[in-house]
């Protein structure tokens, strides 16, 4: 900041009769905005009339503030309580966790069956993801679809909210039944990425539905019937799942534009 203007200049600034050129007046004004000491000097060099006027204004402003409504208190934004998504997802996530619990129980009763938790792991996040990005389940979707924040980032945030519940549940169920942790969590992530990648073209809801049905028919049913764990779930396959996850996630990232309009397919 520049140096303080001289007291003489401030006195001339405050005196309306004094002749102060515009450029100097501006520079004093700019300085006064930031300097409390010089403002005090200006206040000292004003007349008594001005001071009484200012005091009167200050008193009436104070009075109006006291008489008016109290300012809105800043409440702490409670995400868990206020977010629509949280309430909407509770029943679906409860169902997912309950199904996984049943799989663990069934495994304990019938140890000869192939690992049910592993078989269900890929489809476990799909109901939640489908609900999180669906115009039928989001009442404000039309409002949201027109905002700049709508897009892949928002879908990923909502997906993360689903995974926060599903992944620990899967990990717990996996350790209970002795299933490989990598072969439980990796397919879960792969199918989530696949849902988003496919959802760019047909909508997330249809993508989740299609992938869920395909997995059930192609892998779960044959595995239960033959009581043999399919090849895709054998211990050696985890690098393939990992690669597939990365490839699908990368592909989904290139299709970000398709999620700009929430209404495209969902």
């Amino acid at each position: 900041m520049t140096t303080h203007p001289s007291p003489a200049m401030i006195a001339r600034y405050a005196d309306r009769e004094a002749d102060l050129d515009e450029v100097t007046a501006w520079s004093v004004e700019v300085h006064l905005e930031d300097c409390a000491d010089c403002r005090a000097l200006v206040a000292d060099s004003t007349t008594d009339d001005t001071r009484t006027l200012l005091a009167r204004i200050a008193a009436s402003v104070d009075h109006d503030i006291a008489a008016g409504p109290a300012p809105e208190r800043r409440r702490r934004w409670s995400a868990a309580r206020n977010r629509w998504l949280v309430w909407q997802l509770v029943p679906w996530l409860t169902m997912t966790v309950a199904v996984l619990g049943c799989a663990v129980l069934l495994q304990a009763l019938r140890p000869d069956l192939p690992s049910l938790v592993s078989l269900l792991a890929p489809v476990a996040p799909l109901p939640g993801v489908a609900i999180a990005w669906s115009r039928r389940h989001d009442p404000a979707w039309e409002l949201i679809a027109g905002t700049p924040a709508a897009g892949l980032a928002m879908l990923l945030r909502r997906t993360a909210a689903v995974l926060v519940v599903v992944v620990p549940a899967l990990a717990l169920a996996g350790t209970r039944t002795g299933a490989s942790l990598a072969l439980t969590l990796l397919p879960c992530l792969t199918f989530t990425a696949a849902t988003i990648a496919l959802g760019a073209f047909v909508g997330v809801r249809f993508a989740a539905l299609g992938l869920g049905v395909a997995w059930t028919l192609a892998v779960v049913v044959p595995a239960v019937v033959t009581t043999h764990l399919p090849a895709v779930m054998q211990p050696g396959s985890s690098p393939v799942w990992a690669l597939l996850t990365l490839a699908l996630a990368g592909f989904a990232a290139t299709q970000a534009n398709n999620f700009r309009r929430l209404s495209s397919h969902n």
Binding site: N82, P139, L143, I144, N257, R261
Partner: protein
């Protein structure tokens, strides 16, 4: 407090029209609801009139960038809004009140408007002030702390208007904003419209010719997805004669235009 004025704020506008459509076609499901529409709208309040099924809502949704145009060109604030465009900068300058406007029932009015302001990517420090201003402008101060599910229809509509204007949009799209408002609120709303139309492009879709006649500077009439008429409100009044249906000059003008258009289309 001093603040830095960014170059974007002082940059002159280089687009002639805030909303510019050329041969615009938009699908509603399989049906082509907007079919070859040419439209150019600048600053002011534009009333969008038309019979039921004319394609008003579909047009509004396309202007709000919610629907992807099936063909033609649509430019908002000088930026093309097609399948490949980056919609983000345009959407920051948009305000939209849908016809059927859903909301999260557990949110209070203030939380709802705040949430929308956040989705519109307003700077965090500007949000509380902007939210209060928007709520003040629609006259919902007394209900700011009430949950959305406890509001009446007219109040909900006003909360919807508040979220639409919270970011001081350059293009404001209001689809049937006066539904559920009582006569006094309608008058206040018209006042608000005139105020908003001073420096932004406001498009109001409505069935009520009276709203257009009193609050809009400009009338756009569409039927079956095509432009029927565009002109000033005074012009609309002069279109009608004594023999036309309607209780006011503007209504007579409206029905005369529609009748003439239908006769021309039937030939």
């Amino acid at each position: 407090m001093m603040r830095t004025v960014s170059a974007a704020e002082t940059a002159p506008t280089i687009h002639p029209w805030a909303v510019h459509a050329e041969g615009l076609r938009v699908r509603a499901g399989r049906h082509l609801a907007v079919d070859g529409l040419d439209l150019a709208l600048g600053t002011g309040v534009h009333g969008l009139l038309g019979p039921n099924g004319a394609g008003k809502t579909t047009l509004m949704r396309a202007l709000a960038t919610v629907l992807k145009p099936a063909g033609g060109r649509l430019t908002l604030l000088g930026e093309p809004v097609d399948a490949r465009a980056n919609l983000r900068p345009v959407r920051r300058a948009l305000g939209y009140l849908p016809q059927q406007f859903g909301f999260y029932p557990r949110f209070t009015v203030r939380e709802f408007v705040e949430y929308m302001a956040w989705l519109k990517e307003m700077p965090k420090t500007a949000i509380p002030g902007a939210v209060q201003r928007a709520i003040d402008r629609v006259g919902l101060q007394a209900k700011a702390g009430a949950r959305m599910k406890t509001l009446s229809g007219g109040m909900l509509r006003r909360a919807g208007i508040a979220q639409a204007i919270v970011n001081d949009p350059a293009v404001l799209l209001l689809d049937e904003p006066t539904v559920g408002l009582d006569p006094e609120q309608r008058l206040e709303f018209r006042e608000l419209l005139r105020d908003l139309g001073v420096d932004s492009c406001v498009v109001v879709s409505t069935h009520l010719v009276e709203d257009v006649a009193t609050a809009c500077t400009d009338v756009v009439m569409i039927n079956e997805g095509r432009l029927v008429y565009q002109g000033t409100t005074d012009d609309l009044v002069t279109q009608g004669g004594e023999g036309d249906a309607g209780d006011s000059p503007a209504e007579r003008g409206y029905s005369a235009l529609l009748r003439r258009h239908r006769a021309a289309a039937g030939r």
